[in-house]
Structures are given as structure tokens and as C-alpha cells.
């Protein structure tokens, strides 16, 4: 997933105007905007980005937790395989000893 996709994913729930595809259209859309209106819009955008980073941070933390868990699961699986093989070896060894006695 690209940086843009992640940005859009999060931003589209905050302010649709700030989705990547819409940004180039803003100039045209607000060409008759007064300075006062811009001030309001500017504040809205700044809040939107603050919210974006807040959600992005939560997303990243969650992702890190998932990666951490993935890492643990992966190594755990290898360990499980080792365990099975160890047991197989031990059982085989025990069976061999039984056979030889």
C-alpha cells in the first residue's frame, strides 16, 4: 500500500476536499473565496491535518503491534515445528531402543 493510498484512506473520512485527487480542484472551486472565508477554510484544513495525524499515529501504532504479533507468530510456528521434530526424534529413538532391547 502506497503512502498516497494510506493518506487517502484516512483523509477521506476526515475531509473529502483534502483527498489527493481533490486537492488540484480546490483552486478552481474556491476561486472567488474571500480572505475571511479562506481563514475559516484554513482553520478547517489545519484541524483536518491534525486529526489526520492523530488517526495516522493510531494506525501506525496498531500496525506496529500487528507486526510485532506477526513476528511472534512466525517464530512461534518455527518453534512448534522444531518441537514436533524433537518429539519425533525422541519417540523414534525410544522406539529404536525398545526394538533393540
Amino acid at each position: 500500500m502506497s503512502g498516497r493510498e494510506i493518506y487517502d484512506f484516512i483523509m477521506q473520512k476526515i475531509d473529502h476536499e483534502l483527498v489527493s485527487a481533490n486537492i488540484p480542484l480546490l483552486e478552481e472551486k474556491y476561486k472567488n473565496e474571500t480572505p475571511a472565508e479562506w481563514e475559516v477554510r484554513k482553520q478547517r484544513y489545519n484541524d483536518a491535518f491534525a486529526k489526520f495525524y492523530e488517526m495516522y499515529q493510531a494506525y501506525l501504532s496498531d500496525l506496529d503491534v500487528r507486526i510485532h504479533r506477526y513476528r511472534k507468530l512466525a517464530i512461534k510456528e518455527v518453534e512448534a515445528k522444531t518441537k514436533i521434530r524433537e518429539e519425533d526424534s525422541l519417540n523414534t529413538l525410544a522406539a529404536s531402543m525398545f526394538s533393540l532391547s
Binding site: S2, G3, I6, F9, I10, H16, L18, V19, S20, A21, N22, L26, E27, E28, K29, K42, Y45, N46, F49, A50, Y53, E54, M55, Y56, Q57, A58, Y59, L60, S61, D62, L63, R66, I67, H68, R69, Y70, R71, K72, L73, A74, I75, K76, E77, V78, E79, A80, K81, K83, E86, D88, S89, T92, L93, A94, A95, S96, F98, S99, L100, S101
Partner: protein
């Protein structure tokens, strides 16, 4: 040998444990972000440096955010790739060890030494000292190594090289391709050798009647008698190999090309008996490996083990079928929704086309374009979800196919065993005749009890003596019992008990560590742990109640006992997953503890999520991360309601063998999540599901 084996096993897992330690020591996400990231802090840190002042800044700000996300994703992808590489390395390491375990492994070498040593021991015994025991012991040894030398060991003077049997006995014949065919051929050859020797001996005996003190005739008679004994030993060895192969399911396997069971006199230990189990590639091999793990010592045990394999396969197939049906429904649901969305998208596009170029409709066009983007995003996310679920369904379907093959293989093996019994029975009869014994004189015992050689014969559980009786012999309690030593017989039940004790100790440690006034004991029937308060105080009762709550959440089915104890059911983990408690040694557990991973964060003392102590690490897997993630995720409104994977998770980087396991947790909650997991464990402590 024991010491050597220990070193071997240790070296094998050492790398993995080191890796595990490295993983454990790698900073966890929490450690990487030691300071609490409050929304205010995040907002402050992000607002000030790049605030938007002019309309032009908007695009810069967006680009900056995209770039940051790109960089962050890059480092995380790298982290996952590193894990995958690590896992790959470890698996290669394991495979190479497995390879080494073949011809030249320490274990194999030790086994060969053991066989050679045993053979040498036998050579030092004279026939007159322990004839019957020697006979069976030699036969037992020959199970692992049926050679001329082994078959005659103990009866030959090692210094008389000239009397050693020829490596390729001309009498041996090959009737077919299976081990049974080969063994029956060998057996017949041995019988023929015996009969020829007996015929010659009879001639000599006749001559001796006329000239009883003739030393040449006496010597010749002795030689023929010796040949008879050799033939009997060979027959014994053949019979015991057949018996062992009967139990481990290899009797009807091809004896061609595997180097085993050849007539070259260089036979290797029987597969699954004195050799390591081969990789589980075919269903038959899988069944054999499982059988080897159970190490059945009788036909009844083998049949029971085969029945269990069939039952487990059936249960898993049923479970998978349910999951497949559930996935079908989910996929259908998403597909239907996507159809609706695609229809809607078409309408929007149509409307957009109409408005294109019209003056004064810019706002409307913009809205439609935005809507179109939104629809595309959702459709795309749905398609990803469909693919993920489709893959999972395919995997389950394939697994079911494999399981069906495995179940059928186990069934066939059971049938073959019945057939094998019928084939081996006449061998015993013949053996008795060759030894000059009547059937009632032959009572092969194990540990003082008649060995269960022919039990489950024709559906009846009968010991060999009874079977022989059925064949016309009468059981004679005074007969000589030939013992097969059980000194080194595997003690599977002891191993299980040790593991359960380790598990119990683990839970007790957790109770103690977190100040719970609770004593943990293993119930007599070994299906549950019983927790009791050590004092009848209010606090202690409260502790027990708390533990009960946690156990309930984990699906351990806590039950209050009449004496005030609390029983935690572990049987289902044992029965369903074959899980007997913490998998690793104390050393490994310490690593977990040092890292303060999982459990400490979940204890009631931690106070954040109320998961509490008292459960094996495995049972807590996933819960901790879920619990940790819950508040963070809860603050994020899910952008795509159809994606169970959350907001824009890079699913693709989690794909693959282990990614699939991850998805089991994330996507298919009803599916098999591994030992100790169940769907209830995916619940966040605040009642929310993470995904």
C-alpha cells in the same frame, strides 16, 4: 547416548532460541514509543511545523503526509521482510538438520553403534547359557537390523570366521514387492534351511546309531544342529520385523528402492522404528509419522491410534467445512454489495458524463467525482477482501482434500493390519515347529505379561497365548516365558505427566507472581486444573472469583467444584490441539518473563484491561496485542466497513505462510487459531472486537 542426543537436540534448537531471544529483545511497539502519545501531543507536534497558511500549502501538506506514510510503510515492510527472511533461514536450518539426520546423523550413527554393540554383546553369550532369551533378543535386535550376522549373532564363535554365514543367502527368494512379501520369502528360506539341515542331521543321526562314537559324525551332527539354530534365528528375526512393521504400518509398503528390507544383508533400521520419520509428504507417510509418535506396542494400540487419526481428520474436515460455508456466505455478501456499488458507480458515471462540459455545474460535477472516488475505493477494498477470503476458502478446501486422503490412508492401514495379522499367524506356528516345540510351549511375554501380538484379531482382543489356543494350542501357565526387555521402552505417559506438571507450575507461578492466594493442582483425571484458595479468607475467595472470570473469557470452561475449588478445563486443548502446556523449557519461559511480555500487561495488577493472570502464554497470544491495540483502534473510525482488516493495513505484506496465520486471527475468527485460541479470545477487554 543420552548425553549425545541431548547435545544434538540442543544444537538443533539453539539457533531458534537465539532468534526467539533476539525477537523478544527487539523493542516492542510500546517500547519504541515510550512516551504516551496523547491526541494533543500528536496534534501539537504535527500542527506547528507545517501549518497551512496559504491555499498553496494544502498540496504541500498533503504531499508531506503521503511521503511520511510512504517512509513509514517502507520501514515496516522491511521489518516484515526481515522476519520472513529470519523464518526462512530458520526453516532452512531445520531442513539441513533434518538432512543431516539421515545417513550421517549423530542419532543414526548412535543407533548403528548401538546395534553393533548389541550384536557384539550377543556374540559373547553361549547358546547354552540363555537360549530362549537370546533367541528372542536376537530377534528383537533384528527388528532394527535383520542381517545374517544379526540373525546368527550369539550363536557363533566370533573367532571362527570361516563359519560365518554368507552375506547373500542363496535360499532367500523374492516373491513380491512389499515388505510382507520379502519377509515371507525370507521366512520360507529360513524354514527351508532349517528343514534341509534337519534332513541332513537325521541322516547323520541314523549313521551314528551304527557308529555312536564316530567323532567325524558327531562333529557333522553338531554342525547341522547349528545350521538349524541359525535358520530358526533368521526366521525369528524375520517374524519380529514383520511384527514391528505391522504395528508401524509399513508391512505392506514397497521394499524396493528404499534400501530397507533388501536382501543384501545391509538392511537399515525399519522406517518409523529405528529410523527417523520421513517428511510428511504423502498421506500414508503422515499417518505413519503420527503412528510413530504414538509408538504403539500392540495391534490394539495401533488400531486405536489409527482410529484416532481418522476421527481427528473427520473432526477437522467438519470444522473446515463449517468455516468454508461461513466464508461462502461472507464472500457472497460482499459480492452482492459490490454488485450494488458497481451499479451505483455506473449511474454516477452516467450522470457525470451528462454534466461534463456544462457551465455552472462544476459543484455538482465535483460532488459526483468525489462520490465516484469513494465508490471506487470501497469497491476496491471489497475486492481485496473477497480475494483474501477466497484464498482462505481455497486453503481450507485443499486442507480438507488432504485430510480426506489422510483419513482414507489410515483406514487402509487398519485393513492392511488385519490382513497382516492373518499372514503372520502361520509364521508363529511354523516357528514353534522349527524349535521342536508344541504351540502351547511358546509363550512370548513382555514385562511378565503375554505380549499382545494377535489382539484385535477378527475383532476380538486376545493375547497371543489365547490366539495360539484358538489355533489348536492349549495355554500352559508353566511354559517358559520369553521376555522382551522393557528397560528402555518409551514412557509416553510419563512425558505427558511431565508436561502437565510444567503447565501446572507455570500457572502456579503466575498466581504467585501476581499475589493471588490460590493453589493450583492437576485433577486426577488430568483433564483439568483445580484451583483452590490456600486460606478461607474473603480476599482469597475474591482472587479465585477473579481468576474464574478470566478463565471464562478464555474459554477454559471454569466450573465450581463442590469443595469450593475451581476447575479449569484443559482437556479440549489436549484432545483438540494436542497441547499439553508450555512448549518450552524453563529457560525459554524465563525469557518470556524477563521480557515481561504478554502476561504482565494483562494482570489485574496492571489494571488496564483486566485480563488477569493464570494462563499459559499460548492462551494469551493475540489477546495482549488485541487488548493493547483496542484503545488506539477504537479511536479510528474504520474507513471501509467491509474490510475486516482495518484502515488500510498492508495486507499484502502479511501474506504468505505466516501472514495467513495472522489473517486467521484477523479475518476468519471462526477458524482454527492454533492451540489455545478461540474466537472469544479475540474480544477486546472493553467488549470491542479489534478487527
Amino acid at each position: 547416548m543420552e548425553k549425545h542426543t541431548h547435545q544434538f537436540l540442543f544444537s538443533r534448537v539453539h539457533g531458534i532460541r537465539e532468534q526467539r531471544l533476539a525477537f523478544q529483545q527487539a523493542p516492542s511497539p510500546e517500547a519504541q514509543n515510550p512516551e504516551p502519545q496523547t491526541p494533543e501531543k500528536i496534534a501539537d507536534s504535527n500542527r506547528n511545523p507545517d501549518s497551512i497558511d496559504t491555499p498553496k500549502n494544502v498540496a504541500d501538506r498533503a504531499q508531506s503526509a503521503e511521503k511520511k506514510a510512504e517512509e513509514d510503510m517502507g520501514s515496516r515492510k522491511q521489518a516484515i521482510e526481515d522476519v520472513q527472511q529470519n523464518v526462512k533461514n530458520l526453516e532452512e536450518q531445520l531442513r539441513s538438520v533434518e538432512g543431516i539426520e539421515g545417513e550421517d546423523s549423530t542419532t543414526a550413527a548412535e543407533l548403528r553403534d548401538q546395534i553393533a554393540s548389541k550384536r557384539q554383546d550377543l556374540k559373547t553369550l553361549k547358546p547354552s547359557e540363555k537360549p530362549a532369551t537370546d533367541a528372542v533378543e536376537t530377534g528383537g535386535g533384528a527388528v532394527g537390523d535383520v542381517t545374517e550376522g544379526a540373525a546368527t549373532g550369539g550363536l557363533e564363535d566370533p573367532n571362527k570366521a570361516g563359519e560365518k554365514p554368507k552375506p547373500n543367502a542363496p535360499e532367500t527368494k523374492e516373491a513380491g514387492n512389499t515388505h510382507l512379501d520379502r519377509l515371507m520369502g525370507n521366512f520360507d528360506s529360513a524354514v527351508k534351511e532349517h528343514d534341509d539341515a534337519e534332513a541332513k542331521a537325521a541322516e547323520v543321526r541314523q549313521k551314528l546309531k551304527n557308529d555312536p562314537k564316530n567323532p567325524e559324525l558327531q562333529k557333522e551332527l553338531k554342525q547341522h544342529e547349528m545350521e538349524k539354530i541359525k535358520a530358526v534365528m533368521k526366521a525369528f528375526a524375520t517374524f519380529f520385523e514383520g511384527l514391528k512393521r505391522l504395528f508401524n504400518g509399513t508391512l505392506f509398503e514397497s521394499s524396493k528402492g528404499d534400501g530397507k528390507g533388501s536382501e543384501s544383508g545391509t538392511q537399515k533400521p525399519a522406517e518409523g522404528v529405528a529410523n527417523k520419520p520421513a517428511a510428511a509428504t504423502t498421506p500414508e507417510q503422515q499417518v505413519k509419522n503420527e503412528l510413530a509418535k504414538n509408538n504403539p506396542k500392540s495391534a490394539a494400540e495401533t488400531q486405536a491410534a489409527l482410529g484416532e487419526i481418522r476421527e481427528n481428520a473427520d473432526n477437522k474436515i467438519k470444522e473446515n467445512t463449517k468455516s468454508i460455508e461461513s466464508l461462502d456466505k461472507r464472500i457472497d455478501g460482499i459480492k452482492k454489495e459490490n454488485d450494488v456499488l458497481i451499479g451505483k458507480k455506473g449511474e454516477v458515471e452516467k450522470e457525470l458524463n451528462k454534466l461534463q462540459g456544462e457551465e455552472g455545474k462544476e459543484d455538482q460535477i465535483l460532488e459526483l467525482k468525489t462520490e465516484l472516488d469513494r465508490l471506487n475505493t470501497i469497491i476496491e477494498a471489497n475486492q481485496k477482501a473477497i480475494k483474501t477470503l477466497d484464498d482462505r476458502r481455497d486453503a481450507l478446501t485443499k486442507e480438507n482434500k488432504d485430510l480426506t486422503a489422510k483419513r482414507d490412508a489410515a483406514e487402509k492401514m487398519g485393513e492392511d493390519m488385519e490382513k497382516g495379522m492373518e499372514k503372520l499367524l502361520p509364521m508363529i506356528q511354523k516357528l514353534a515347529e522349527m524349535l521342536g516345540l508344541k504351540l502351547q510351549d511358546l509363550n512370548i511375554g513382555y514385562n511378565g505379561q503375554p505380549i499382545i501380538v494377535i489382539n484385535n484379531f477378527n475383532g476380538n482382543n486376545i493375547p497371543v497365548a489365547t490366539a495360539l489356543e484358538a489355533m489348536g494350542a492349549k495355554q500352559n501357565p508353566e511354559t517358559q516365558t520369553v521376555e522382551i526387555s522393557a528397560e528402555q521402552a518409551p514412557q509416553a505417559s510419563e512425558k505427558v505427566s511431565e508436561r502437565l506438571e510444567l503447565w501446572r507450575q507455570d500457572i502456579q507461578d503466575r498466581m504467585d507472581r501476581h499475589g493471588y492466594d490460590v493453589v493450583v493442582a492437576l485433577n486426577e483425571d488430568k483433564t483439568s486444573f483445580v484451583l483452590r484458595t490456600s486460606a478461607d479468607t474473603k480476599d482469597a475467595m475474591k482472587d479465585l472469583k477473579t481468576v474464574e472470570g478470566f478463565a471464562q473469557k478464555r474459554g477454559m470452561q471454569p466450573a465450581n467444584m463442590q469443595d469450593g475449588g475451581l476447575a479449569l478445563n484443559i482437556d479440549r486443548y489436549i484432545q483438540k490441539e494436542g497441547y499439553f502446556g508450555p512448549a518450552f523449557s524453563e529457560e525459554s519461559l524465563k525469557i518470556e518473563q524477563v521480557q515481561d511480555d504478554n502476561f504482565a500487561a494483562q494482570s489485574s495488577e496492571g489494571g488496564t484491561n483486566g485480563l488477569g493472570p493464570g494462563y499459559p502464554e499460548e492462551l494469551l497470544e493475540g489477546t495482549y496485542e488485541q487488548g493493547k491495540a483496542a484503545p488506539q483502534v477504537a479511536s479510528v473510525e474504520q474507513p471501509t466497513r467491509n474490510s475486516d482488516l482495518g484502515p488500510g493495513y498492508p495486507e499484502e505484506v502479511l501474506e504468505g505462510t505466516y501472514g495467513q496465520a495472522q489473517k486467521n486471527v484477523e479475518v476468519a475468527q471462526e477458524d482454527n487459531l492454533g492451540p489455545g485460541y478461540d474466537a472469544s479470545m479475540l474480544e477486546g477487554t472493553d467488549g470491542r472486537k479489534i478487527s
